[in-house]
């Protein structure tokens, strides 16, 4: 079975510019990574906190910091809620913040559907913790300039997104 793919670029954002983010010399980038354990709700968001602390120290606008933090948090919570394990990795370059969230989990059978605000397959237990509103992926898209989701049923999901530093 092949992987399902979803790619979105914010209106007005040049896809080439996003590609450029991936081609920055390692010397010009700062990276940080954190493992995510499925079901570990007490620590859900710890990776996003780590990333936020890192970028807050750099000369990055508060709006970009906030957008990055929210997107990272939502992506990390998704792994905690749905997957067995995963990781969140952020790479900060002079152009953008590029985040890759990978998990080993059930995958997303229909990504378009999962992108609809309100769509959720979360359990009542998860909802009691204040999650599972069906706003995770839409909220990521709302805060980033580029989003790519690749998912294979029964194997896992990779969520990648970029936030450009030269836009607000």
């Amino acid at each position: 079975m092949g992987a399902a793919e979803f790619i979105w670029t914010r209106d007005g954002v040049d896809a080439e510019e996003i590609k450029g983010c991936g081609n920055v010399a390692p010397a010009e980038t700062i990276e940080t990574e954190k493992e995510i354990a499925g079901g570990d709700f007490a620590n859900a968001g710890a990776g996003a906190s780590q990333i936020k602390r890192l970028i807050k120290k750099l000369a990055i606008s508060p709006q970009v910091v906030r957008r990055t933090a929210i997107a990272c948090f939502e992506a990390e919570v998704n792994v905690t809620v749905y997957a067995q394990e995963g990781s969140i990795k952020a790479r900060v370059s002079p152009l953008c913040i590029y985040v890759v969230v990978e998990d080993r989990g059930p995958g997303i059978p229909d990504i378009e559907q999962a992108m609809q605000p309100g769509w959720s397959t979360a359990t009542p237990e998860v909802r009691e913790m204040g999650f599972g509103a069906g706003l995770g992926l839409p909220n990521i898209r709302g805060n980033v300039d580029f989003l790519k989701i690749t998912s294979t049923a029964g194997e896992g999901t990779v969520v990648e997104f970029a936030i450009l530093l030269n836009r607000t």
Binding site: A48, L135, N139
Partner: protein, 124 residues
């Protein structure tokens, strides 16, 4: 004159659980929700949150959007670790026995404004 967290606590008969040093922070905008994603849809940086969800997840979300303080309603005793985590963050957390409805009403009366809610997917 700006409303302070101290004024909010007094109006609500709330107990201060953490962040005593931050009680003089100005409560500019307020959001009220029990849903983490909803809270993260607040466009304002530095909002004050009213919630019935006295869990660690709320504090982590608070950290993401730099909330200035939190009020737990309905006398909900926070789960273990919440108060300690708030103290580490230096985040004022207060606890009121009042309902969400009454809490919001009283804080509104004090003159605090509503935060701007950005639905997911809406452009910045």
């Amino acid at each position: 004159m700006a409303v302070k967290i101290r004024d909010v606590a007094e109006a609500l008969g709330a107990e201060v659980l953490a962040g005593e040093d931050g009680l003089d922070r100005d409560v500019g905008v307020v959001i009220a929700s029990d849903l983490v994603s909803d809270i993260l849809c607040c466009r304002d940086v530095g909002a004050f949150l009213i919630t019935g969800l006295a869990k660690i997840q709320i504090l982590r979300a608070a950290d993401m959007i730099d909330l200035i303080g939190i009020c737990f309603v309905r006398g909900k005793i926070p789960e273990e670790g919440v108060v300690e985590y708030a103290r580490e963050m230096g985040l004022p957390v207060i606890l009121t026995p009042k309902t969400m409805y009454e809490t919001c009403g009283r804080v509104y009366q004090l003159g605090a404004k509503s935060g701007v809610y950005t639905p997911p997917g809406a452009p910045e």
